[in-house]
């Protein structure tokens, strides 16, 4: 009886840690999405495909001998530039159209990028050879994979850095000003197109970091990003579109629900508690947990 109790408790501890780490991985993908939404009201449905590109980029660097942790800054810079170019060439034009244009424009981008990936790399699953951080760490009865821990820590650092950036830097203040009132920001001399492009670039750079870290434990294939992005949309909506803290809270909640749901219900039902929680929360708070009306 006592043994069963101890076992249940240690299982619970393991699930708790796994759930939080899983949540942090979701946060890694979600913070960039929510930043972009917060500044320009665009849900980038191609966000997962940006992640997929970052994972392919990390894979490519690994082929020439640059490991994912060393290559991370390079991937971040590449995605930053890619995001800025996509904004300048494409997203900017969507913003001039009706609101649904951004939804379907980014969906088009999703289809396009998946198609390009499929045409270029085929549908094979690609994993980097000799991945670092493949061991596990044991803390009492709880086991943590080093790679997952690195991803979780990376998510925390990324979220904190993004939050500090938006709160305390001049550019971050400009982003908040644009989020608050685009026209007023223009009149006060803020270059809205520049701020939007920067925000889109930084949101994309976030998935650059996420992509490099996720290659520690996941393979890449043309629809690899879509899995993460679908969860990220729920995470961002749950936390409240546009709120960085909300994304973190939402991600942790989703991670816990998914891990506990997968364990206590059935692995194939792990998303059920997540979706039920999303519906319950938005029906009570239509703006999400920490979103603004």
């Amino acid at each position: 009886m006592a043994d069963a109790g101890v076992e249940a408790l240690s299982t619970f501890g393991q699930l708790l840690v796994s759930g939080l780490l899983t949540g942090l991985v979701f946060a890694l993908v979600a913070v960039g999405l929510t930043l972009i939404y917060g500044v320009m009201d665009v849900v980038n449905f191609a966000h997962g495909e940006f992640l997929m590109l970052a994972m392919y980029a990390t894979f490519g660097l690994a082929l020439v001998g640059i490991g994912p942790l060393v290559g991370l800054p390079l991937v971040v810079i590449a995605l930053l530039l890619f995001g800025i170019v996509v904004y300048r060439v494409f997203i900017r034009r969507l913003l001039a159209g009706p609101p649904e244009a951004t939804v379907f424009g980014t969906f088009g981008l999703l289809v396009l990028l998946q198609g390009i990936a499929q045409a270029s790399f085929s549908s094979d699953f690609l994993s980097i050879q000799n991945r670092p951080l493949q061991g596990v760490i044991r803390l009492g009865s709880v086991t943590v994979e080093q790679a997952t821990l690195a991803e979780g820590l990376g998510a925390l650092v990324l979220t904190a850095a993004l939050f500090a950036f938006v709160e305390y830097t001049e550019t971050g203040r400009a982003m908040r000003a644009v989020a608050e009132d685009r026209i007023a920001a223009t009149l006060m001399g803020i270059n809205v197109q520049g701020v939007n492009a920067t925000a889109f670039g930084i949101g994309s750079a976030c998935v650059g970091a996420a992509g490099a870290l996720l290659m520690l434990s996941y393979p890449v294939y043309p629809t690899a990003g879509a899995q993460f992005a679908l969860t990220a949309f729920v995470v961002v909506a749950l936390g409240g579109f546009g709120s960085i803290q909300g994304a973190l809270v939402g991600a942790l909640l989703v991670g816990l629900l998914e891990v506990f749901g997968g364990f206590y219900l059935a692995p194939e039902l792990k998303m059920v508690p997540v979706y039920v929680a999303y519906l319950a929360i938005v029906l009570l708070r239509p703006q999400g947990l920490l979103g603004r009306r």
Binding site: D41, V43, R88, F90, R93, L94, L95, A96, G97, P98, P99, E100, A101, T102, F104, G105, F107, G108, L109, L110, V111, L112, Q114, G115, I116, Q118, A119, D181, I183, A184, A185, T186, L187, M188, G189, I190, N191, Q193, G194, A197, L230, F233, V234, A237, F241, G242, A266, E268, L269, M271, V272, Y275, V276, Y278, L279, V282, L283, P286, Q287, R292
Partner: protein
């Protein structure tokens, strides 16, 4: 309608011919898929296009039908039973899931549909009897009773029947009350709610109906493929395919889903076949690129664009040419990484000019007998940078990327208006333009009308509508708006009675304020016609009524109606006159009475007596209470303002050469004195003043007034003053009043100062009220606002008309 029916008939005939004459299985398979997807797209279009709730979970209704067929057949029942059973199940599912979620806005709804679909997927996979993850294989049979056929022809015919039914239902929807209400809700749910359209009720009705077509398509699909499982019927991928079909063709249009299905089938099946099978990704590349191009260049979809052109047959050629030109310009326009501070984005300006040329080409003098196009300039009020559509020596323009960039001469005031620059009449619009493309186009055409109004004999007339700031004036104006809103969206046979109501409420107002008729009409003949022209030329005919209701709703949200009411009323009067007496614009002159014209057009005799009798139908007492409350609050507020800022003791600082910032959204006119602005900051010869609690600005001479400080103090109740070197507080003209004096003489002349508009103020002063398209500060009297030199007294009309609170797009 006849054209739509003819088109439908032609399609039906062609498909029947194909089903009978073509024996190529691949072609018939494509045709069947095309028709089925067109039905699914149309079903999605009802809720996501007409009602505006973008769904990414529509496959669940398709699955209802497919599973109903599978269950019927595997239980030995007739598959025909699956049509009513699947439709009922789908309608019930729509009602159950729609009731809570249809109240969600924007992306929150879209994500909720994904969640609902995922839960339905989990349900189907895990509840016994539904086939689990493996699904159902249907036993093979043959004949009409079993709804299975060895050839594909009969399937095509059945899909054709379904398609024709869905198209007919949509034709009826477009002309029904439900259709009008859905479009009104999509365009502006708050405005629709204000005229009593219950959002949940009507959307649920649409949702349940459209779910039934999707279910019928599901039945046919199951009978055609004889295999039903979760991934092929209710996965996210199926839902997204349905949504993309709806969008590519043009959402909220009758033929959009059919066109979208054609593009989808041609690409997904055709390209995949041509390029050697799916899985290579080329089909995705092409399909993705097409969606991207449509979203960026033609956000209203293929049909939306074509319909737009066809609706204005007269100008279709011109519009097509201008659209092509705009496209070319748009594609070739460089998007350089611009430095901060380069305020006017030349590419955006060029696009706005191209839009305007397209609208002018469509108009071609139809409305007013003269072209609305002509010189137009966008001006950045901070830098006086000017971007014009033609060269102007007075502005020292230089060509750049198809437009002309220069500087506005210093003697020209900046406002949304028509002005004379270098001897020519120009339309001027302040930069930035409104974000909302419709608002932007309305504003541009509004100011284009102001440029020609003198020439068409409708010069601006002086109008003082101060009565619209009284409780009675506001009450009866809003009653008129309520009746106008109902009238514009009413079916033609019920419109006259509603117009009679609206004009009776106006008559009641005129009875209380005898000058109201003349003054209101004067502003209607100016801003009302300008706004109506803007709306008429930028809105397709089918959206005209909804746009007019939106303008009425945005009028209601303004702080004061004194100068703004005609922006709201104008488009509604225009829409009503257009449908009763086309060509009314050409009969107008400076003495026309628009209300009398409207009464004559509908053969109604408005009267104040009718107003009192009909009032309960429009106001359950809430509006009257709200207006009385507002009047009482205003009186209390004015009394305390007078005590604090007029009766004194006060500190008065003459604003000779000063910069000041204020928020024009928080302005209280103080009769006979000026206006109270809060908060205000000012700086100049005296140092700087920061008054977060507000300050009174008086006219002639312009003076800033705050409550007097304690002796020797440099701050007082709600303000702080930092005096410039050599300045001190000295006794003022009145006992106990004080003012500021400096040792060195203060600069006496200065038209050099420039008040910097506070963020929120700048917004409305720039005419960027999205729904209204133009600020009431625009107009024939060039209001030097917000760039008025502080040494120049603001005209009373400015101080008396707080600019409206901008109605920005709501953020979830």
């Amino acid at each position: 309608m006849r054209a739509h029916l003819l088109a439908l008939g032609a399609i039906v005939a062609a498909c029947i011919a194909a089903a009978a004459g073509v024996h190529d299985a691949v072609l018939l398979d494509l045709l069947f898929t095309l028709l089925l997807y067109a039905v699914l797209g149309q079903s999605w279009n009802w809720i996501s296009g007409y009602a505006g709730n973008v769904s990414f979970g529509h496959a669940i209704f398709f699955a209802c039908g497919a599973y109903a067929a599978a269950l019927c057949v595997t239980h030995g029942l007739s598959p025909w039973l699956a049509f009513p059973a699947g439709a009922l199940a789908a309608a019930a599912l729509a009602a159950i899931t729609g009731f809570p979620t249809l109240a969600l806005r924007g992306h929150y709804f879209s994500i909720a549909t994904i969640a609902v679909a995922a839960l339905v997927d989990a349900f189907v996979r895990n509840v016994p009897g539904l086939g689990g993850a493996n699904g159902f294989e249907l036993p093979i049979a043959s004949g009409w009773a079993a709804l299975q056929f060895p050839a594909k022809g009969p399937y095509v015919l059945l899909a054709l029947v379904l398609f024709a039914a869905a198209q007919l239902a949509t034709i009826l929807l477009e002309r029904s009350r439900l259709g009008y209400y859905l479009r009104a809700l999509r365009a502006n749910h708050a405005a629709a709610a204000s005229v009593g359209i219950g959002e949940r009720r009507w959307k649920l009705i649409a949702f349940a109906w459209c779910a039934t077509f999707a279910a019928a398509a599901g039945v046919l699909y199951a009978q055609y493929t004889l295999f039903v499982d979760p991934p092929s019927t209710l996965s996210l991928g199926v839902s997204i395919d349905i949504a993309l079909i709806g969008v590519v063709g043009g959402i909220g249009t009758l033929w959009g889903p059919a066109v979208g299905a054609l593009v989808y089938v041609a690409l997904a099946k055709g390209v995949a076949l041509e390029l050697g099978g799916a899985g290579k990704g080329y089909d995705l590349v092409i399909y993705g690129a097409i969606i991207c191009a449509i979203a960026a260049l033609r956000p209203h979809g293929i049909v939306g664009t074509v319909v737009d052109a066809l609706r204005r047959r007269r100008g279709a050629l011109g519009a097509a040419a201008a659209a092509t030109a705009a496209c070319l310009l748009f594609v070739s326009a460089p998007a350089p990484l611009r430095a901060a501070g380069d305020a006017i984005d030349v590419a955006v300006a060029a696009r706005a000019f191209a839009d305007r040329s397209a609208e002018c080409a469509v108009d071609g003098g139809r409305l007013w007998g003269v072209s609305l196009c002509g010189p137009m300039v966008f001006v950045d009020p901070r830098t006086r940078e000017a971007v014009a559509n033609q060269a102007s020596p007075a502005m020292q323009t230089a060509p750049r990327d198809g437009v002309f960039v220069g500087t506005l001469p210093p003697d020209v005031g900046i406002a949304n208006t028509a002005v004379t620059i270098g001897g020519d009449r120009w339309s001027m619009v302040m930069w930035p333009l409104p974000d909302d493309p419709i608002a932007r186009r309305i504003l541009v055409m509004h100011e284009s009308w102001h440029r020609i109004q003198d020439r068409i004999g409708l010069p601006p007339q002086a109008a003082d509508n101060a009565h619209l700031d009284t409780a009675d004036g506001r009450y009866w104006l809003q009653m008129e708006w309520r009746a106008l809103a109902r009238a514009v969206i009413a079916p033609a046979d019920r419109r006259a009675a509603l117009v009679a109501d609206a004009l009776s409420f106006r008559a009641e107002r005129v009875e209380k304020f005898p000058d109201a008729a003349r003054n209101e009409n004067a502003l209607m003949l100016n801003e009302g016609l300008a706004e109506d022209t803007g709306v008429e030329l930028t809105t397709v005919a089918s959206d005209r009524a909804i746009r007019a209701v939106e303008e009425l709703a945005s009028g209601r949200r303004r702080t004061s109606f004194v100068r703004s009411f005609a922006y709201a009323s104008g488009p509604a009067y225009g829409a009503l006159l257009d449908s009763a007496t086309p060509g009314w614009r050409r009969r107008l002159n400076a003495h026309s009475d628009l209300a009398a014209m409207l009464a004559a057009a509908y053969h109604v005799r408005p009267s104040a007596a009718r107003a009192l009798a009909r009032a309960p139908a429009y106001d359950d007492g809430g509006l009257r209470i709200a207006e009385n409350q507002r009047a009482a609050e205003l009186a209390t507020r004015l009394a305390s303002i007078r005590a604090r800022y007029v009766e004194g003791p006060v500190l008065r600082i003459p604003l000779r050469d000063a910069n000041f910032q204020f928020d024009p959204n928080d302005v209280t006119p103080v009769p006979g004195q000026g206006s109270l602005y809060a908060p205000v900051t000012a700086s100049g010869w005296f140092g700087s003043l920061d008054a977060p609690a507000g300050a009174l600005m008086t006219n002639a001479p312009m003076t800033i007034v705050v409550p007097a400080p304690a002796p020797g103090a440099s701050s007082g109740d709600g303000w702080t003053l930092s005096l410039a070197a050599g300045c001190r507080i000295v006794p003022g003209e009145r006992a106990h009043d004080v003012t500021v004096a400096c040792g060195s003489p203060a600069p006496a002349t200065a038209a050099t100062s420039r008040p910097t508009p506070a963020p929120r103020g700048a917004r409305s002063a720039s005419g960027a009220t999205p729904a209204a398209g133009a600020s009431p500060a625009s107009g024939a009297t060039p209001l030097p606002f917000p760039t008025v030199p502080a040494s120049v007294a603001l005209p009373p009309s400015v101080l008396a008309s707080p600019t409206p609170a901008p109605s920005s797009s709501p953020k979830p």
